[in-house]
C-alpha cells in the first residue's frame, strides 16, 4: 500500500512537469507547479506516516505553506506586472519536447538500475521517476525562452531533488532540510528580483535578448 501511494504521487508529479512542456501559457505553468507541490507534500506525508517519523509531517506542512501558497502568489503578481503574453515560440516545438521528455525518463530508468539493486526500500520504484523529473525540469530550463518559465523550471528542479531525498533516504536531517528550504526560497526571491530588473532594463523578459556579453 505504502509503495503504491508513493508511486502514484511521484508519477503525478512527473505528469505535471509534462504539462509545462505541453501547454503554451504561463498561468497554466503556475497551476501545474502548484499541483506538483501538493503532490510532493502528499508523498512526504505518506512516507512520514508509514515510517512514523513526525519530522516529515512538519516538512510537508512547510512545503505546502511556502511552495504551494506563497510562491505561486508571487508568480501571479509577477505575471500581472508583465501581462500574460503567450509563451514566445520555444526552441523546441511541443511534439519534439514531449518526445525528448520521454527519452529523458527512459534514460533515468537506465541510470537508476544500479540503485534499485542496492536497496530494498519499499519506495524503491519511485527513484527513477524522481530522476526523470529532474532531467525533465532541466530540459524545461534549457528549452524555454521566457525568464518566468525558466524560474518555474528551476523550482521544479528543486521539487525533483526534494522528492529524491524523501523517496531515497526518507528525508534528510532536519537542519539540512531547513537549509534546503531556505536556499530554495532565497533562490526564488533573487530570481524574482532579477526578472523585474530584466524587465526594467530590457523591457522584455525574453532571455534571447540577453546575448550582449560574448567572447
Amino acid at each position: 500500500m505504502f509503495s503504491q501511494l508513493v508511486m502514484l504521487g511521484s508519477s503525478g508529479m512527473l505528469l505535471t512537469a509534462l504539462i509545462v512542456l505541453w501547454r503554451k501559457h504561463v498561468p497554466a505553468y503556475i497551476s501545474a507547479y502548484r499541483l506538483q507541490v501538493w503532490l510532493l507534500a502528499g508523498v512526504t506525508a505518506t512516507v512520514g506516516y508509514f515510517t512514523s517519523d513526525w519530522r516529515l509531517f512538519a516538512v510537508a506542512f512547510v512545503l505546502v505553506v511556502l511552495k504551494a501558497i506563497a510562491i505561486p502568489a508571487l508568480l501571479r503578481t509577477m505575471l500581472r506586472r508583465f501581462g500574460a503574453q503567450p509563451e514566445v515560440r520555444p526552441y523546441v516545438n511541443t511534439e519534439t519536447s514531449l518526445l525528448v521528455a520521454g527519452l529523458l525518463v527512459l534514460f533515468a530508468y537506465v541510470l537508476a538500475r544500479p540503485w534499485m539493486a542496492v536497496t530494498d526500500l519499499p519506495t524503491r520504484d519511485a527513484l527513477p521517476i524522481a530522476m526523470g523529473l529532474l532531467f525533465v525540469s532541466l530540459f524545461v530550463i534549457v528549452s524555454r525562452r521566457k525568464a518566468i518559465t525558466q524560474v518555474i523550471g528551476f523550482l521544479m528542479l528543486e521539487n525533483a531533488i526534494a522528492l529524491l531525498a524523501a523517496v531515497g533516504t526518507y528525508g534528510v536531517p532536519l537542519l539540512v532540510e531547513l537549509g534546503v528550504f531556505l536556499d530554495a526560497l532565497m533562490g526564488f526571491l533573487v530570481m524574482q528580483i532579477f526578472v523585474y530588473q530584466i524587465h526594467e532594463t530590457f523591457d522584455t523578459i525574453d532571455v534571447e535578448q540577453l546575448t550582449r556579453l560574448r567572447h
Partner: protein, 485 residues
C-alpha cells in the same frame, strides 16, 4: 571553539550593522573592516591551533569540523574578505557611489564572506552544499550593483547556471547519502564527512561513481571548470571589483575544496584511477580553454576571469597527481587567491580612472597611474608564473609531481598551454603598461592608503615565492595529510 565563533560571527555582525544603518555612512565601512580583520586574526589562530593539535570540532552534532585544509581556506577567505571590505565602494574611493548601492554592497559582501567561511568550516557535506548554494545567491544579488544591461544579463546567467549546477551537486550528495543509509542504516551524524570517509570502503562503487559524476559537474560549475565555465567571464567582469576579487580568488577555491572532499570519499570505494582521469580531463579542458581564450581578448577584466579558469584547471589537474600534486594544488590555491584578488582590485582602480575595460583604450598605464601600474604588472607577472612570486613555486611543484607520477603527456600539455597563456597575458600587459596615456586620462597618482593595502598581497606573494615560510609549509603539509584516505 571560541576561535571558530570568532571566525564566523564578525561577518554576520557586519552585515547586520549594514542593514541597520539605513543611509550608508562611512563608519559602517570602517566597522566592517575592523570586524573583517578580527575574523582574519581568528582564522590565523585557528590555523595554528589546528596544525598543533588536529581538527577542531564544534556545534551540535559536530556540524562544524575545521581541519588543516579548512583552516587554510578560511585564512584565504578571511584575508580576501578583509581586502574587499577595505577596498570596496564606500571606503577606498573618494567619490562615493550612491549610498543605497554601497549599503547593499556592504550587506551582501559580508553575507557572502560568511557563507564561504561556513562552507569550508562545516563538517556536514549537506550543509556544505547549502552554504555553497547560499554563496551563489549572496554574490548574485550584488553583481548588478550599477544596473547596466551587461551586469543584469551577467547576474541572470550566473544565478541560473550556478543554481542548475548546484542542484546536480545536491543530487550527487543525496545519492551518496542514499548509498550510505542503505548500507549502514540511519546513523546519527551520517552526513559528516569523516564518518562518510571512514565508511567509504563498505559503500557500493558503481553508485559512488554516479554520485561523483554529479558532484564533479555540480561543484565543477561553481569552480568554473570547462565546459561549465560559461558564467564565469560574464559574472567576474561585470561584478564590482571587490566582489569579483572575492569570487575569482576564493569562491572558485571553495568549490574545488568541495570536489577534493568528495574525491577522498569516492577514492575510498572506487579505484583511484576513476577520479584521477575525470579530474585531469576536466582540468586540462579548463587550462586549454582558459589559455586559448586569452589569445584574442579585448577586455582586461574578462582576461583576468579566463586566467582564473586556467588556474582552476591547473588546481584540478594537480589534485589528481598524488600527494606532491595535492601539495602543489593547495599552495597554488593560496597563491592564486592572493594574486587574483589583488589583480582584480587593481583592475577596478584602472577601470575607475580610464572608464573603459577595452585593453586597446588603456595605454600608458605606467605613466598615468605609476603605482597601480607597477602593482598590476607585478600581479599579472605573478599570474603567469614568473619568479619571484609564489605561483612559480606551485607550478614548478605541479610539473614535478606530474613527472614523478609518470603523466608525461600531462606535463607536455600543461607546459605548452601555460606558455600560450604567458605570451598572451604578457602581450596584453605590454600593450596596457607602455606608450602614452590617452589625453582624457589624468596622469599622476598620490600614494594613498589603498595602494599600501594593495602592496601587501604583492609583498606576501614575493615572500611565498622566495622563501616559503615554515608555518605555511607545515599548514599545507597538514592539508595534504588531512585529505589522505
Amino acid at each position: 571553539m571560541p576561535s571558530l565563533a570568532l571566525l564566523l560571527v564578525p561577518p554576520l555582525v557586519a552585515a547586520a550593522l549594514a542593514i541597520v544603518v539605513k543611509p550608508y555612512r562611512r563608519f559602517v565601512g570602517w566597522a566592517g573592516v575592523v570586524l573583517a580583520s578580527l575574523s582574519a586574526a581568528a582564522s590565523g589562530t585557528l590555523a595554528i591551533q589546528v596544525v598543533r593539535d588536529g581538527p577542531v570540532f564544534g556545534g551540535v552534532g559536530d556540524i562544524w569540523r575545521v581541519d588543516a585544509l579548512s583552516a587554510m581556506l578560511a585564512l584565504c577567505i578571511a584575508f580576501v574578505a578583509l581586502l574587499a571590505s577595505m577596498l570596496g565602494p564606500g571606503l577606498a574611493d573618494e567619490r562615493d557611489g550612491d549610498p543605497a548601492q554601497t549599503r547593499r554592497f556592504r550587506i551582501f559582501m559580508n553575507a557572502f564572506a560568511f557563507t564561504m567561511l561556513a562552507a569550508v568550516t562545516t563538517g556536514n557535506v549537506a550543509l556544505m552544499w547549502v552554504a555553497v548554494e547560499a554563496t551563489t545567491i549572496m554574490s548574485a544579488i550584488v553583481i548588478p550593483l550599477d544596473r547596466t544591461k551587461a551586469s543584469v544579463e551577467a547576474s541572470w546567467k550566473y544565478i541560473l547556471i550556478c543554481s542548475v549546477g548546484i542542484a546536480l551537486a545536491f543530487t550527487g550528495t543525496v545519492l551518496a547519502y542514499f548509498d550510505f543509509v542503505s548500507t549502514a542504516g540511519e546513523v546519527p551524524g551520517s552526513l559528516n564527512w569523516d564518518v562518510l570517509r571512514d565508511a567509504a570502503p563498505s559503500l557500493h562503487p558503481e553508485l559512488l561513481q554516479l554520485a561523483f559524476a554529479f558532484i564533479l559537474i555540480g561543484y565543477g560549475t561553481k569552480a568554473g571548470l570547462a565546459p561549465m565555465h560559461t558564467w564565469l567571464p560574464d559574472a567576474h567582469s561585470e561584478a564590482p571589483p571587490a566582489i569579483s576579487a572575492m569570487m575569482s580568488g576564493v569562491l572558485l577555491a571553495v568549490a574545488m575544496y568541495a570536489i577534493a572532499r568528495w574525491k577522498v570519499v569516492v577514492d575510498g570505494a572506487v579505484d583511484r584511477r576513476f577520479t584521477t582521469t575525470l579530474l585531469i580531463a576536466f582540468g586540462l579542458a579548463s587550462v586549454a580553454l582558459g589559455a586559448f581564450s586569452l589569445v584574442i581578448q579585448r577586455h582586461y577584466k574578462r582576461m583576468l576571469a579566463y586566467s582564473s579558469i586556467e588556474h582552476m584547471g591547473l588546481v584540478a589537474v594537480a589534485l589528481a597527481l598524488g600527494p606532491l600534486g595535492m601539495f602543489a594544488a593547495w599552495l597554488h590555491v593560496a597563491n592564486h587567491a592572493i594574486a587574483k584578488s589583488a589583480s582584480f582590485l587593481l583592475a577596478g582602480r584602472v577601470l575607475r580612472r580610464y572608464g573603459t575595460t577595452e585593453i586597446d583604450d588603456v595605454t600608458g598605464l605606467l605613466r598615468a597611474m605609476p603605482w597601480t601600474g607597477t602593482l598590476l604588472a607585478a600581479g599579472i607577472l605573478a599570474l603567469v608564473g614568473l619568479p619571484p612570486f609564489g605561483l612559480f613555486v606551485s607550478e614548478f611543484l605541479l610539473v614535478r609531481a606530474a613527472v614523478e607520477t609518470r603523466h608525461l603527456a600531462v606535463v607536455g600539455m600543461v607546459l605548452l598551454l601555460m606558455a600560450v597563456a604567458f605570451v598572451s597575458l604578457l602581450g596584453h600587459l605590454n600593450r596596457m603598461l607602455y606608450g602614452d596615456p590617452p589625453p582624457a586620462v589624468a596622469t599622476g597618482e598620490r600614494r594613498s592608503w589603498p595602494l599600501f593595502a594593495l602592496a601587501v598581497p604583492i609583498a606576501l606573494l614575493i615572500v611565498l615565492g622566495v622563501a616559503l615560510p615554515a608555518p605555511v609549509d607545515a599548514l599545507i603539509r597538514q592539508c595534504v595529510a588531512s585529505l589522505a584516505p
